[in-house]
Amino acid sequence: MVRSGKPGTASIGERLGLGDERRAAYAFVLPALLLFVVFIVVPTVATFVLSLFEWSGGGEPRFVGLRNYRIALTGDAIFTKSLRNNFYYMLATLVLEVGTGLILALMLDLKRRGYDLFRVILFTPMTLSLTVIGLMWYFILHPEFGLFEASPLADERTALWTVCVVSGWTYCGFYMVLFYAALQGIPRELYEAALIDGAGELRRILHVSLPLLRETTLVSVLICVTGAFKAYDLFRVMAPEGVPHHSTEIASTWLVRSAFSAEAAQMGYGAALAAIMTLLVLGMTVLYSLVTRRSRSQELA
């Protein structure tokens, strides 16, 4: 490697005392880092700053301190309800998406006749846009012109669960593929050994497949949990305005309506809701990582 020997012409990396390898590493990371800063860090910080103001998107913002947070956490019953709905949605999708995906993958792994066809059919909803899926189910379940006399979307008690089921129908194929791919990575010898030991199909699943699917399960749960808080399109299309009686209102739909609704246009308040959601999801992710790391180290020990 030829180096410049002239004093005073050292590169930034040299002046910082970085070796060639580290400099190259930083050079490779820099574009991604820049993108991350511009599109993630700056908007996040801006959102937190904006949450301290009252601003409609036009005119001069007015500093209101933590007022927006106070209103969101103590005075906005719809936001509280929407967070609760998010939580229910998360639980339902864990069962309907991850759980069903796992069961389907295990069934496919039995490799009965036609399993390839089923794999394609079950994955198909994932290839459609969520808006298309939402509209399709909205028309099937339309309270006035739909297929059912009593639409579950029109009932406060069933509307949220209906959206959850559609979400499960859409995404279970995705988790099925994840689990199925992981199942293919399990050495066949383990199953053969279990078979020699007299284990039936159920015991092979319980004692071989499931323990070895642990990592995939952990990742799937994380994707599902964070995804539950990012949900928007399906709810927007299938149950606009959170009908009936905000029973299908989730934090993101309420946030958008608070921030961008022409008259409400409370950008500051919307930013505060976004900040609360960010902290919540971040907190859950950290907690989840800590719990799984702990159980993993206990297992290794």
Partner: protein, 432 residues
């Protein structure tokens, strides 16, 4: 060889044609945002734009059209906040105009209206809620009657019903319709405002226009939970208990209810005068209907002739680079010729010379009569007042109409939701 030459030739010819097309591109593009996506008014808008472009070579009017709900809720606000806001935009008079002015989106149109006596072309009563501090920020286009009790005349004939003159008679009609197996009243309340406006009008008739205005304006010391509001919602409780509303009214869109009404699914459909335009395009040819204002309550307070209505009109962006052209465009939109066509499409025009009550559609005349006979015009909650306040009142009305809460509980919930904003409003007022 010829084949080899042909492709570049086609490409070059195509490029030169594109070049020619580019050469014809307009020098100025005027962005015009509105929410007329369909109905009889749509061709009027389109024709008016074409006429204006023909009169102004080099100018293209780009219509940005969003459906009413999207436009009202997020569409317009997003456009105004974006980097390329519309030069001219449709707006509802009232609190929305005030917000646009306060947020710096609206150009002052006072001088433009004073020029050449343009102002005198408008009805004198067209200006309410279009001015801020005595300055004009909106060119009023139409008077929108928000709640008229449209009814199916064939159903009325079938059950030998007469137009009710009082609120009690209206209830009696509802009972007879219900007993005869009809759906007395249809709403598509997914967006909350259809039934919300109807309920709010009933509230005004019970509490009077002053209390209505004070509570919705978040005046200090006021609250949703007051005896008048509770009494009004108890009246809606009676409607709900008797099953006067269509099933699923909370989950269907207004457009679904409108189509249902046109196809005889219900006797009544309380809605604005834009139903006339919808009926022209979407109702079966033999569909007959008529309408009346909410009849007076015997024990109500305030003006019992009141009508829920508002002006709509056009505003010009403060940031427009083509202010004069935008005004010129609006003068064209408000010209007698365009406005006459608007009237034919079912609008009550603000232009004196375009609106002759004797020569208009009979349905439109009903709206006009209600407007003329009303001593008080009250604003719908969602355009006349802060939207959060309006939405919480709409929530309360929907809860009661759905039988999910009694009047007091629903209003208490609404008040709890509004309370932080009410406190914030008091604080802001204090600072001002």
């Amino acid at each position: 060889m010829i084949g080899k030459v042909r492709l570049p030739l086609i490409v070059m010819t195509g490029m030169s044609l594109i070049g020619c097309r580019r050469g014809e591109e307009p020098k100025v593009v005027l962005k015009f945002a509105h929410s007329v996506t369909a109905g009889a008014s749509k061709p009027v808008y389109d024709a008016a734009v074409v006429e204006f472009e023909a009169k102004h070579p080099g100018v293209r009017v780009k219509q940005v059209v969003l459906d009413g709900m999207t436009y009202e809720k997020q569409g317009l606000q997003s456009m105004l906040q974006g980097g390329d806001p519309p030069d001219v935009f449709f707006e509802w008079a009232g609190h929305r105009v005030l917000r646009k002015v306060r947020d710096g989106y609206a150009a002052d149109l006072t001088e433009a209206l004073n020029k050449d006596g343009w102002r005198s072309a408008f009805h004198e009563n067209s200006w309410s809620a279009t001015t801020v501090d005595g300055r004009n920020y909106m060119i009023p286009n139409t008077i929108m009657v928000t709640v008229i009790h449209w009814y199916n005349t064939a159903i009325f004939r079938r059950h030998r019903l007469e137009v009710p003159k009082t609120y009690d008679e209206l209830l009696a009609v509802m009972h007879r319709l219900k007993a005869a197996g009809e759906t007395p009243m249809i709403f598509g309340n997914r967006e909350l405002w259809p039934m919300g406006n109807w309920g709010a009008h009933l509230i005004q008739r019970v509490v009077g226009e002053r209390v209505y205005d004070d509570v919705l304006s978040l005046k200090p010391g006021t609250s949703f939970v007051n005896p008048g509001f509770v009494k009004a919602l108890e009246l809606i409780e009676v409607w709900a208990k008797n099953g006067f509303f269509n099933r699923n009214f909370l989950a269907i869109a207004d457009v679904d209810a409108q189509i249902g009404f046109f196809h005889g699914k219900a006797a009544f459909y309380p809605m604005g005068n834009w139903v006339i335009s919808g009926a022209q395009t979407d109702a079966p040819p033999d569909f007959e209907y008529d309408g009346f204002n909410l009849p007076p309550l015997s024990d109500g307070a305030g003006d019992q002739t009141s009508l829920m209505a508002l002006n709509t009109g056009y505003m010009v962006s403060k940031s427009t680079k083509h202010f004069d052209l935008a005004v010129e465009f609006l003068r064209h939109m408000m010209s007698e010729s365009v406005q006459q066509r608007m009237v034919e499409a079912g609008a009550i025009s603000t232009i004196k010379s375009a609106f002759d009550p004797e020569r208009i559609d009979p349905h439109l005349r009903r709206c006009w009569e209600a407007w003329k006979n009303a001593k008080t015009i009250i604003a719908p909650p969602d355009t006349g007042y802060p939207i959060d306040v309006a939405n919480r009142l709409y929530d309360a009305i929907a809860l009661v109409a759905d039988g999910k809460a009694d009047a007091k509980t629903a209003l208490t919930r609404a008040e709890e939701q509004v309370a932080p904003w009410r406190r914030a409003a008091v604080k802001t007022r204090g600072k001002e």
